[in-house]
Symmetry: C2
Subunit: 221 residues, 2 copies
């Protein structure tokens, strides 16, 4: 038997500001997606592919969370999408209070879909409601199939999971069936998409889902 | 120009307890390694390979940090190594105060090397001194070569970096030369090891380094 010790978590409340953000998004009819993953799972590459394939007329904006650099924001800006970088200066996640003032930097009347790319971290970002409509988690097959069981909260709270780097599957020991079974056990409602941000594989279904959610929100759904 | 907003980091001091841990390790001549990485980089697999290849007579013990599960600890225990699991119950890193009581669970007189596998996270664990002698960071080539520049603190404070999943390099876009150049720029003293925990490639050099550090500490170095 493995001995187990419990340590006390250090969390903090930011629900009130998240509610204010949510009310604002509701008034404006903006669908807000909080995009989360471990470092290196491919959030930014996924976002780049998503931008390429979004339907014409769907107006996207992006908030990029990063600890120090503006590298990801520069990649998004290069594609002509309005983007604001939040540098957390060491903090390991975004919170609702970081999002709120950032919204002043956008023309909210000209946005249908706001994607917030969180700091690369499978743990802390899951704890903080930003006021989003939905959360999506990116997981790459090269990370191994035990991640949902080890980091269940992020999978439990997500509406969608992108199983990325599917093109590398033949070269890994990842058991895709077990991965999907574990995710479904943690969250039976989770929409799963097998994708490769590198090859573009699987993006039609993901982008269709995202566009559908955006359209629904716009119509006041 | 990308707009940047600064947010305030939320950190906390645990240096006093780390000092107490360090004093205890010094008295006992135990070399302590704090092993860190993103989820899915291969910390536990690396540890399993390391156990296989450690020289006879070098007495290892392991502390496993995990948010909820005991999966990793069970993998280590299966190899006959004394192991204690710390479940952080949601917290995204280990701190010195979690380590301290755990030490009572070991026979410290029968340990030469203690490896602490931190929670899978490239951000928060870097902020917390556990009282260790050295930190090692595992990074897999499938995560992309921009990770050191995006998460510099963990690479700045590490003594060694294991560049894992090197067997998958031909199938990725990872620029290994740039990765190593960036790491060397952030930390010129960083020892780098190209390894594959799956194939065993590159483990001789890593294990030799680890055994050498352990031997030095035992001799009071």
């Amino acid at each position: 038997m493995v001995r187990v010790r419990l340590a006390t978590p250090m969390l903090q409340e930011n629900d009130e500001v998240a509610r204010e953000n949510r009310t604002l998004f509701q008034e404006r009819g903006i669908f807000v997606l909080n995009l989360m993953s471990s470092p290196g799972s491919g959030k930014t590459s996924t976002l780049e592919r998503t931008i390429e394939q979004l339907p014409d007329g769907l107006r996207l904006a992006v908030i990029e969370g990063d600890i120090y650099t503006t590298r990801d924001a520069e990649r998004i800006e290069a594609r002509g999408v309005p983007v604001v970088q939040i540098n957390t200066a060491g903090a390991c996640h975004l919170d609702a209070r970081m999002i709120k003032p950032t919204l002043d930097d956008f023309d909210l009347g000209a946005i249908d879909l706001l994607i917030v790319e969180n700091v690369g971290n499978l743990v802390c970002p899951a704890e903080f409601d930003l006021g989003e409509d939905a959360r999506a988690v990116v997981l790459s097959v090269t990370e191994g199939n035990d991640k949902p069981m080890k980091y269940p909260l992020i999978f439990r709270l997500a509406r969608a999971a992108l199983i990325n780097k599917i093109d590398l599957l033949p070269y890994t020991d990842c058991d895709l069936a077990e991965l999907e079974r574990d995710m479904a056990m943690i969250n039976p409602e989770l929409k799963m998409f097998q994708v490769s941000a590198r090859t573009g594989q699987g993006f039609e279904a993901w982008v269709a889902w995202l566009a559908e959610q955006t359209e629904k929100k716009k119509r006041g759904g």
